[in-house]
Amino acid sequence: MTAPKITPTKKWSLKKQIVDHGMLLVLLLLCAAISALTVTDIHPEDPAAGRQLAKLALQKYGTDPNVLIVVRDTAADRAFAQAINDELVTGGINVVGIVSGTPRSAILQLTQTLAAGENVDVIATHHFASQWEVLNVSRLAQVSEKPIKVIRPPSYRWPSFLTKNNLLSILNQNAPIAIMAIGMTLVIITAGIDLSVGSLMALAAVVTAVSLRDYLGGTEANGGAVALAFGIAMLVCAVVGAVAGLLITVFKIPPFVATLGLMMVARGACYILAGGADAVMIDAPAISSLYDASVLGVSSQIILMVVLFITAHVVMTHTPFGRYVYAVGGNVSAARLSGVPVMAVLISVYIVCGLCAGVAGVLDASHFLTGRPKAGEFYELQVIAAVVVGGTSLMGGEGKIFGTLIGALILGVIQNGLNMAGVDSYRQMVIYGALILVAVVVDQLKKKVINPGIVSQ
């Protein structure tokens, strides 16, 4: 009698895919649904659209006509106008002038040009200005005997949700929550909870601001001093995390109660340090360098988030520490009797959770150039929601790091979609909460339907 050779179940099955990647599917469906609902006319106004417009004009009218370019007085519009101008001049068309201003300045320039004896055959503009009263055909006929054509870049239909700017802004807005959710995932996998993360985020921001103002040179603080302030802020958060871990392991206080207490202590400390509810201004110019940094148009916050998620994923799946975290959450006494250093593991996860809140806090300080004692209020609930929607069980022992990223993105996408749909903030709250419940119920049903015998990898 020998045991059958164990072969890994490599068979691809739709069921298993749905179980393993159900929430990713939900995220994609949500994106598709919101995209479908936000399809609108897009009127491009960027330099690329300007060049395209100039090429169309050359094709249509040759090099004969005189062109007047009309845009608003903004930097983006001037870039658009310049692109049209450059392209037209290269193509050999005569540009009689560029107006960047109001309808009034546009009509003024037009009449002046005509009065100076120059012809204007075409006005090149964008969708917005083409709607101006002064640029409609009957009005133009009053100023010029020859008909003047108004041209603009072609419009097209596209979901306003599904633009690079919007998607990046969803990522950027939700990065602090997602980063805090990494630490929270570890804590929840050990069957714990950490309610102090929102307060710790504020504490990190306030400590950054106060230490820069009082100890690290105020306005003269250079990059090194700012980095030091960030370091101090994160250290404070790590220490609070360690205190939480000690309360939970040594004094056997339930995590909910221990971190509830620390949440209030940390929030109070924020107000004391800030000397009230007002934000502490940070005058050092170097403060913004963290938030403002970007690579290929992707902000530092997003990059930091992605790097932290990948690191956490590797730690949780490829190191003994990760295995211990799951073991402690799955069955603490069996873990202890299997030689897992339970106390060290528990203290570590609360330190990691505090550090994640610290990262979110220094990002907040760098973003708003202040230490806001009210930052991160109720963030702990959003962070927990992201973890739970991401499929981590509050019972402990189960959960995936990338599930949490998906969970945070689902919440971000829902919020963005509701904003775009123009839903007011009270209704948003109701819908948001209901959708969280639906997501979790679906997750539970899915687990029941599919054979739970195999642990998904």
């Binding site: 003994p320 295995r323 009797l337 015998g453 642990v455």
Partner: protein
């Protein structure tokens, strides 16, 4: 003349789970006042059968008749309504409620109807008297012994006018003396015309209690016969599907120098001045009644609890252990009595359970090498004959025997020198038991010292080279079981385990 229909008639019961046929075409009848012993290895379909009868699961096919009337059992409530009660291994009592409150819990009374404490008390006493028990109905259930909790469970079932009572391994957690009390209750219930389905792994109980024996194997009905017609060997043969030459493999280990020396171990009142020595190649049995302090000693050897006094010496080195982690590093390991709550992380994969104490072996530069862990686990699956379909199968889906082997595998990988087994075969079926005994022998032959705590006297007598007997936290005797001249008898052990006069010095039979 009217023929009274049987109390319960099950016909053609079939139930499949994805990939497994748990029951196929099983039929049984049960008469009033009859004890039907339901036997079979783990995974034979016993639990599925009783869960279907109890309304927890729905069968795919098959019919139930109670008193000749065809019934459907859609849920546990419906089962109770038909007079079917199931006493599960895990008790359903609420520890913070009183005995009488537990007895009348969930009785379908209106939620808001006031409860008369006096009526509840008198009715509880009447029910408890019916089974010859004197438990105070105002005691909290948390204050009761396991045996008394079981009595309350039975009283709770009787309060529902139970006609059919199913008992799932009721004696598993009881000491021999407590088990006798249980047998009296079963006999009493039988005389009150209640039909009893009795599930057990202990074959000597079957001979004592059962009118008829029904044997299941791999979901199929093998035989149902009057108890007097089946010998012990025939029962085992029917259960495992082949004949086992013996229940226990022969021991032939050479005992060497002392490995683990325990001196004056004391913790609170549970363990008092315990000393013994386990030798290289020896199986040292520890016998005693439940509560004698055996498990507490094992936990101290493993540093799961720390002793107030006493020393533990391994291979001549005095150990100062502070945690199980250190004990494992020193080469001591413990297979706990309760695998489900202490030995395994049930919701996680078998491979991860196996790897947990051994992650250093499977890491390089701080990173896990999953392939190494997998290969090593595969090796133990082959050598220990662990039957699983996938290394990521959740530990909770394995049978008791396979679970025990997974726990053993993780300790073998950690190269322990001293292996402590606490009730190694509790809840494990006959076939798998034999394999575990063989492993015990092999391990001792490799020079490891094996300490085996067991309440099963035949197991202790068959497997141990020497037997430490404990009573009330003290060692009352250390008996040599290896010399063939004077074999230790169960009566010898019980005498030391229960003797009333307290002895200053343990009786040590020279080895």
């Amino acid at each position: 003349m009217l023929v009274t229909p049987p109390l319960l008639e099950i016909e053609g019961l079939t139930k499949s789970y994805p990939g497994v046929r748990a029951l196929s075409d099983v039929s049984l009848t049960l008469a009033r006042g009859e004890v039907l012993a339901l036997l079979g290895e783990n995974g034979a379909g016993k639990s599925t059968l009783i869960k279907t009868l109890g309304g927890v699961h729905q069968s795919d096919r098959g019919s139930f008749k109670v008193d000749g009337d065809r019934v459907t059992i859609a849920n546990p409530r419906a089962a109770r309504g038909l007079g079917i009660s199931i006493i599960y291994q895990e008790f359903t009592l609420i520890p913070t409620l009183k005995v009488r409150e537990n007895i009348f819990l969930g009785h379908g009374r209106h939620w808001l109807k006031p409860i008369s404490q006096k009526t509840e008390r008198t009715r509880s006493i009447a029910l408890l008297n019916r089974i010859g028990s004197q438990i105070d109905p105002d005691k909290l259930c948390s204050e009761l012994s396991v045996a008394d909790q079981q009595v309350v469970e039975i009283a709770k079932a009787l309060a529902l006018n139970t006609k059919i009572m199913v008992m799932d391994e009721p004696s598993a957690a009881l000491s021999p003396r407590e088990a006798e009390g249980l047998f009296d209750i079963v006999a009493e219930l039988r005389s009150q015309e209640i039909g009893i389905i009795y599930i057990t792994h202990r074959l000597n109980e079957v001979a004592q209690l059962a009118d008829r024996i029904m044997i299941l194997r791999d979901g199929e009905h093998i035989t149902t016969q009057p108890a007097v017609d089946l010998s012990r060997d025939q029962i085992i043969e029917n259960m495992v599907g082949r004949s086992l030459a013996e229940e226990f493999p022969p021991r032939c280990s050479v005992i060497g120098e002392p490995r683990l020396q325990v001196d004056g171990l004391t913790r609170g009142t549970a363990v008092k001045n315990v000393s013994f020595t386990a030798h290289r190649g020896e199986v040292l049995g520890i016998a005693g009644l439940v509560g004698a302090g055996r498990t507490e000693v094992a936990r101290m050897l493993f540093a799961a609890d720390l002793p107030d006094q006493g020393t533990i010496t391994l291979d001549g080195v005095v150990l100062k252990l502070k945690s199980p982690r250190q004990a494992i590093a020193a080469g001591i390991c413990l297979l706990t009595e309760d695998r489900k709550s202490q030995g395994l992380i049930l919701t996680q994969s078998t491979q991860h359970n196996f790897g947990l104490p051994n992650l250093a072996d499977f890491s390089s530069k701080g990173m896990l090498v999953h392939r190494r862990e997998r290969n090593s686990f595969q090796h133990y699956c082959d050598t220990l004959n662990i039957r699983i379909s996938d290394v990521h199968q959740r530990a909770e889906t394995l049978s008791g025997g396979n679970q025990q082997k997974v726990v053993l595998a993780k300790w073998l990988q950690s190269t322990a020198d001293v292996i402590i087994f606490d009730e190694p075969t509790r809840g494990i079926d006959v076939g798998a038991r034999y394999e575990i005994y063989q492993l015990l022998n092999e391990l001792s032959e490799q020079g490891k010292a094996i300490i085996m705590i067991s309440s099963d006297l035949s197991e202790v007598l068959a497997m141990s080279d020497r037997i430490v007997v404990m009573r009330e936290g003290q060692v009352t005797g250390i008996l040599d079981n290896k010399s063939s001249q004077q074999k230790v008898t169960p009566e010898d052990i019980m005498r030391y385990a229960t003797s009333d006069q307290s002895q200053e010095q343990p009786v040590v039979v020279p080895a």
